[in-house]
């Protein structure tokens, strides 16, 4: 591993970590495509490595949130335990699929996230920049 790769990987972590803590999205969803596009990972290696980054990050966050008493433990226990066999199943499917199909499935997820984030950016844009009539009331639930 050369120095430019090390710097690149640290940069990737910095960007993803900042976005994840500010937008609440963006661990694996950033790691996987970036590891493929810029660091020469195969789709499946990128996904495995992404999981290895997420695990300690999530562990740290859990400790911080638990201390601040923000975790709903009932929901966390049920969702967490049910998630284990399904995650194993998902991993089995991923490891058996060919890489091209897996990339396309991932691409669908990215599209959904792009649309959601775009919508969020649109709804949060500064109202003052738009001279149109205030329609915040009737557009809220749509």
């Amino acid at each position: 591993m050369d120095i430019s790769m090390i710097v690149g990987l640290i940069l990737l972590g910095l960007i993803a970590g900042t976005l994840a803590s500010t937008l609440g999205v963006g661990g694996g969803i950033i790691f996987v495509p970036m590891l493929v596009a810029f660091f020469g990972f195969s789709q499946i290696e990128a996904q495995g490595t992404s999981l290895a980054i997420i695990l300690p990050t999530a562990l740290l966050s859990t400790v911080v949130h638990a201390r601040a008493k923000r975790i709903h433990w009932g929901v966390a226990t049920v969702a967490g335990i049910i998630g284990v066999p399904l995650a194993l199943l998902g991993a089995k499917v991923a490891l058996s699929l060919d890489q091209e199909t897996l990339s396309k499935v991932f691409s669908v997820l990215l599209t959904v996230v792009a649309v959601r984030m775009g919508y969020r950016a649109w709804t949060l844009r500064p109202a003052a920049s738009s001279p149109s009539i205030d329609r915040s009331g009737d557009s809220a639930g749509s």
Partner: protein, 118 residues
């Protein structure tokens, strides 16, 4: 059976499957679902989501690692950056307008989606 129990189970199952299939945490599904279906506020939803991620990601990681698909050195280096970035973001998250962050994020995701499809 209480309804929060059923809802938690369904959300946990769907997110767990996505986590294993796509190598993500699944917060992208859990956070909005907890807000929408379990009436949590955003902070509580994010905190609860991240605690469930530990279990499902840990499980999926065992299988990926068994097949030799984890680059632990790279993961460790990215983790150092991610931990620093998360700390920085948490401290300064109110300085950058959220619509700019979300907008930039949307564009990057759209480009990545197109690249990965073709």
């Amino acid at each position: 059976m209480e309804s929060w129990f059923t809802k938690s189970a369904v959300i946990g199952a769907a997110a767990g499957f996505l986590a294993g299939l796509l190598g993500i945490g699944g917060g992208v599904l859990k956070v909005p679902s907890f807000v929408l279906f379990l009436k949590m506020d955003h902070y509580r939803a994010a905190a609860t989501s991240v605690s469930t991620i530990v279990l499902s990601v840990g499980a999926a990681l065992i299988l990926f690692n068994g097949d030799g698909n984890v680059d632990w050195l790279s993961a460790g280096i990215v983790f150092i950056g991610a931990a620093t970035g998360a700390w920085f973001g948490a401290k300064h998250m109110d300085r950058v307008p959220e619509h700019l962050l979300a907008g930039t994020f949307a564009v990057v995701m759209a480009i990545a989606a197109i690249r990965m499809w073709f």
